[in-house]
């Protein structure tokens, strides 16, 4: 028994983090996003850089030019992207590519997967669920569209995308109207639809954990250098306790997304429930963690210059995307306890 990442997975995490820290720090992402306004494509350089690390095809089989890795590997990468508040709709891209790989015909797979794997093409996801906007809709070369228990492909000529004024500067969002005729993914069924959603829960939870960890570390570093009343503020017990509570909120949670991803990779029956629970728990924890981090930073934390607001806004989108915490909890309760009796609420 070993509940820990492999050396290769830790290396993957470190590689992605290292790239972002060096080539795509949060400040640069924010400046590029602001300069572009609502024009898409500003995240191209980071997309290319991360694709060169192989991220485009992390879930795509080697046969189609991908890395052929599992959901746990993708979750580790998602955690690193969350840690660095990386630009780009990576999670939607991964979910869409996986849907094409598992639900597409041979022809559809050959048409799309090699380009999606090497990053020269981008995919995203239209999920007909409240609170789930299209990430990077105007940058996508192909969309996977969910309608009930079916999935279909959509290309830009069959849709009209309009930018939404998203709060998250790192991942632009769009409202998409379908104008053409989607091309069905004939191999997709209800089970694949459930897989895509659960994998999405796992990956968003991983991103949320990464971001939470980053704001915890930033706060620990800050209270070790900021002085007031002639001493480091980290020496004050009130500050210590608040930082300890922040660590308590974040650190014990990594196993939630690890287990969900592991359960999917191993085909365990509780994978979907574990993923929804991880998404719900970390969705709330991430927002709370950044709020606490900002409070501990004092006035500087409330400025545009300090990058914590970028994380807070990323946390707000993560919280809603593919299901908000409260909806997921009610879903889980129904799964475990059955439907409420006689409308006794």
């Amino acid at each position: 028994m070993n509940f820990d990442l492999s050396p290769e997975q830790y290396l993957l995490e470190e590689t992605v983090r290292g790239y972002l820290q060096k080539d795509q720090p949060v400040g640069r992402t924010l400046a590029a996003a602001e300069a572009a306004g609502s024009e898409p494509g500003w995240d191209g350089p980071a997309w290319k850089g991360l694709a060169e690390l192989g991220l485009g095809g992390i879930l795509v089989s080697e046969e189609h030019g991908g890395l052929g890795l599992g959901l746990l590997d993708a979750a580790v990468a998602a955690q690193a992207l969350g840690y660095g508040a990386a630009p780009g709709p990576w999670i939607a891209h991964w979910l869409a590519t996986a849907a094409i790989m598992h639900g597409g015909s041979q022809q559809q797979r050959s048409r799309w997967l090699p380009g999606l794997a090497d990053g020269s093409l981008r995919a995203s996801l239209i999920w007909d669920q409240r609170g789930t906007p299209v990430l990077g809709g105007r940058s996508a070369d192909v969309m996977v569209l969910r309608r009930g228990d079916a999935l279909a492909l959509l290309t830009p000529d069959g849709m009209a995308a309009q930018a939404l004024p998203g709060i998250d500067y790192t991942r632009p969002i769009d409202e998409v109207t379908v104008t053409g005729t989607p091309e069905p993914l004939d191999g997709a069924d209800a089970e694949l639809v459930r897989w895509v959603r659960g994998a999405g829960h796992t990956l968003v939870a991983a991103d949320s954990f990464g971001g939470s960890l980053r704001v915890l570390e930033a706060t620990v570093a800050y209270v070790k250098v900021r002085q007031q009343f002639g001493q480091l503020i980290g020496a004050f017990q009130a500050v210590k306790h608040q930082v300890a509570d922040l660590a308590f909120l974040v650190e014990p949670c990594r196993g939630l997304y690890w287990y969900a991803a592991y359960a999917y990779d191993e085909g365990l029956p509780d994978a979907a429930a574990a993923a929804a629970l991880a998404k719900a728990h970390l969705g709330d924890a991430y927002v709370q963690a950044v709020r606490d981090a900002i409070e501990l930073h004092g006035g500087i934390g409330y400025t545009w210059e300090c990058d914590l607001h970028v994380y807070l806004k990323r946390a707000l989108l993560n919280r809603e995307y593919l299901g908000d915490p409260e909806s997921l909890r009610q879903e889980l309760a129904t799964l475990e306890f059955g439907a409420p009796v006689g409308g006794a609420t």
Binding site: M1, F3, A244, F248, C253, G255, H281, Q330, F337
Partner: protein
Amino acid sequence: MDLSYGAQYEQFRTEVRAFLDENWNAAGAKDRAYVGDFRARAVRAGLIYRTVPVEFGGAGQEPDAMRAQVVREEFGRAKAPRELGGIGIALAVPTLLRWGTAEQKERFIPPTMAGTLRWCQGYSEPEAGSDLESLRTTAVLEGDEWVINGQKVWTSEASGAHWMLLLARTEPDTPRRAGLSYLLMDMSQPGVEVRPLRQITGSSEFSEVFLTGARTPADLLVGERGQGWTVSRTTLAAERTTLAAPETSAQLFASLVKLARRSERSGGRGLSDTRIRSELMKLRGWIEAQRYSALIQASRDTGDAPDLLQLLNKLVHTEVAMRVSRIALEVLGPAGYLDPQLSTPPGDERWLNQFFGSLGVAIAGGTSNIQRNIIAERGLGLPRDEAGATA
């Protein structure tokens, strides 16, 4: 990552099950002689008291957290008794094994293992709670005896204890922890007076102990003079039972769900209440986080220095206990104003004991606020506080 136990441990599980099939019948659970005999067989089979040497009544096995876990699971399933509880097994035996002289081990460990010698823990004092290092009870060597004066408090299991694990000041000129020594003291003597303390639950599980010229032989010093603090930090390093806490939480969750079902059937707030469902799932999130943290800790060897995740265990455990008690109170309804001590037989108001006990979790063994200091200073490297209990 691999959460399977592997062939080796599944084979061991088969052996444990075979042992239980052959040796344990739950019908005998209340027969003391039968239970005692069963424990002796389980020791000989290497299943309980696993790491205690054979000469002291243990199984003499190498530490193996996975084997310990398999035993816990299978014994739990069969409702078979494992090690005796109490301070003797949890504290006296590991402390003496690590620090005791040959004579001390030989004299005290076997009867403690047999359950015939019971212990209490004499650490805290009225003026030395969170700041344990400042304790004032003195032990002065007069001839070949220590003469002990002072007062201990929150002494768990003092009523009925035969001996005390005593932390006392033996080096008056040496400050704080460096002046402390660890002694073994007979409780049955004129200089020892035990006054049970009544807790908020109404029952008495701990006491005040007044020590007035109490005596103990000079050679019942454990470790060196002035080394008492270090000796008192001994915990069960081998086969740390990190997985036990999440298992308890999972059982508590299951009982809470049953309570909510009962409450609903009798017209109260229960499992169909949207908010109760939501709170239960928030609790589930914490319980799963607790379980996975334990699995991560079991997978990593951090040596003697606990890492951040381990330092957080107490706060996570407290969070779970507090959330359980809040939900229980919501669904208890009218049972929430009945006294479980007075009602016969007690019904669902038994949950009030958990409600009170959740406060105990936050206070006992170092308060949550002291733990926050330790997390910040040792776990996160924040500057040390002069006044902080950061031992």
